[in-house]
Amino acid sequence: MSYENQFTAHTQLKLSPFFKRTSKLNESQEWRRWSGFLAATNYELHHENEYFAIRTKAALLDITPLKKYIIEGPDSQRFLNRLVTRNISICKVGQVMYTPWCDEEGKVIDDGTVQRLSENKFRITSAEPNLNWIQHNATGMDLTVRDDSVSTAALALQGPNSRDILNEVASDSLDSLKFFWMMDTTFGDISVSISRTGYTGDLGYEIWMDPKDAIAVWDLLLDKGKSFGITPTGLQALDIARIEAGLILLDVDYVSSRHALIESRKSSPYELGLGWAVKMKKKDFIGKAALEAEVVRGPEWDFVGIEIQWHELEKHFRKAGLAPGLPSTAWRTSTPLYKGSKQVGYATSGAWSPILKRYIALAHVKSEYADEGSELMFELKVEHYRKLTPAKVVKTPFFDPERKRSCLA
């Protein structure tokens, strides 16, 4: 990897505070747009090394483009409880909760995490801008809403060595920090918050900091992480990891109810496999009445993991005189799923999992065909021709290492 590249192209996109470093490290100069920021697709010419950094070493990702909002004030807990589907009153200071939020018809608008920074202060992260929705629903409540998207920079350090690296850098030990909890610490004289969260389903952390400290933190991590195999990682590697972890992505696996042109594009949390995150015992929240009705009715769709069966897949290619063709990157083209001659669902993202050696995908399937073990047919293209090949509904996450949740102390 060359460190001498100079990024000279002009861009209208926003540049993250890490850009001074990432632009020079990005050997491929492949970039994607993420929330108006320029974000690295991969740093090397192929993402494989970055992917394996996530699973076997430590991957460093610039996640500053995430939308972040600070909700602060006496009514902040009451407000968030009304906004999101999870029960925020049991979220302790220093705890983080993943949750979707819905419109009043119970259809998902976005999903993200809620961090309880103090008794009356929260940070909520989201894929898309949500300031208007948050402010609209916060009218009349005793709280302030602040867009924190630019005022806080963030890095994800993901992979089995991530804790060891942070223990080298941070003044406090990370050994006892539990999954979906966070702590404040310092890197030398730089204050940071570290949450044990991520989008990889692996042991991993997200580091939240003042943008003015961004470069120093980046340099420190790369320096101390060198012997642990720290690797700047782009979105392509992340995409495979998040599919293995069974984590959904807005605009890929579902459409925000705010943008859906037609009703059928909208999904309730139940239809996205997020029923566990809907807390019906909570007094009232946006969409509750509609979701209660849906529970009675039974959700129409389920969101499941499927595994495309290897032997049959191989057979299709063999017939064409080819070795099995597998996607080298994660794909996001909607792909039909059949039961007999009837289409009963569609896969929205899939990938060959290098670590599992399985061809996996995330799919919307009609509830009656969505039970674990259910056998469906997956549409496959072999040398320009469409084929159907068996796929089985399996449990997600596909990859769920024990280290994701375990603590050392």
Binding site: D75, E104, N137, T139, G140, M141, K283, D284, I286, A289
Partner: protein, 522 residues
Amino acid sequence: MNRFDVIVVGGGINSLITASLLGKAGKKVVVLEARDQVGGLASTTEFAPGFRCNIINDTLKWIDPRVMKDLNLEANGLALIQPEVVQVTLSENGEHISFNRDPRLTAASIANFSQKDAKSWPAFIEYIEKLAQFLERLYQLTPPELPNIGLSEILPMRLMLGPAFKHGTRGLVDLMRVAPMMMPELVDEWFENELVRSAISMAGINHLSFGPFAAGTGYNLLHQHVHGKGVFHNTQFVKGGTGELAQVLASVAGSNNVEIRTGSKVKSIDVENGRCNGISLTGGESIQADRIVSGLDPKNTFMNLVGTSNLNPNFHTQLNNIRYRGSTARVHFALNKLPEINGILQDQMKTVFSVGPSIEYQERASDSVKYGTIAENPTIEFTIPSLINHEFAPGGKHVLSATVQYAPYHLRDQVWSSKLNEQLKNNVVRVLDNYIPDFSSLIETTSVLSPKDLENEFGLTEGNLNHGEMTLDQFFFMRPTMSTAQYKSPIENLYLCGPGTHPGGGLHGTNGFNSAREILKG
């Protein structure tokens, strides 16, 4: 005991009517009024020692005949005074047009300005009366819940068949043409003289934040003439002052076993899981009831009393989008003697005078709303209520009350203050000086109510006297919002009865009557 069948929040005209009708139907009802007297926009008070005024409305344009009959208002002491001259439109050069109950007399007055216009007059008022008859029927209806319209919504619509048969499709087409019109277009089709044109236009801009060139002023004009029985600029005074209307309604309510509590300010309508069963007063007291009816405007009812955290996001958006934008102010003058009005005899003064001598003058006055300033030359409607009710002023002295447009609630780079109230008063005095010689020298005391004052004193959002602008996008099934147009609301057990509902503002009581009917239905 603090347990009622129905709590009515607010003690205005509609609240009292709803309460009475519910009480009459055997419900145990309490009315909670924040001020120390009931009546709301129909209130009379002493504004200076010895001088009384009708705080907001000097006249009733029309009153729902169903209310008159069902509550037997006449027998219960409501005395309406119907002047022969209903309005006098003043011109800057001392001439005027008298609008009379008898259209021939009006035509004769118009003939001084234009023979042609005088000839058109009978046909014009017949035309307006025809269109108003459609609204009369429409106003009796509860608007349908769209888009889920069913037989139960369509059946009551047969009320509309009466005028439709009487006036044919042509009548309906005319209504659809005139309602969205602007004033200059309407008068272009009938009249040539500018004073005549402007006199008609004044009805179209009544209490609006727009000028006569705004689409939909046609509808506002028709709204003023419902139940007008063919009298253009129909006007009625109440013997004893407009506040008497409220007093009569309160006594009728009392005889229907309605309990009225004044000085009881509701702090919140208490909602749990989308349902309300009680209210809390600012004093800390809670009162329970099966149903709550609010005569307050939608913003006060839902945003302030129910609380936005209990509203669905969509409904919340709809509420945010209701336009209030009060632009009407009231100025009361205590005068040391009866003013002289140029060209008007002393016995012609028991009426309403209007100052807005050309459509352009009116439009320019309305421009101030756009620019967030007080109109330099406002349009003014004034009366001398002390001529109608002598007890309004000490012997020989008089009161002149003016309704002034435009004085917008939202000002640019400034907020309402006593200094601006003074400026508003000065503008009114300067304009009236052109019509009343030496007017300023007659003034003993003045009381100014800006839209901000109206908001503070009467809880009117942005000082809007109609609880929401009277425009076509806030009409019928869209008033106050699509989801609350049936006098009920997305909050279970919470109903509306104020002017924010169909058919809008004015001291006519139709809202209260329709609301009571819906509440008794279920």
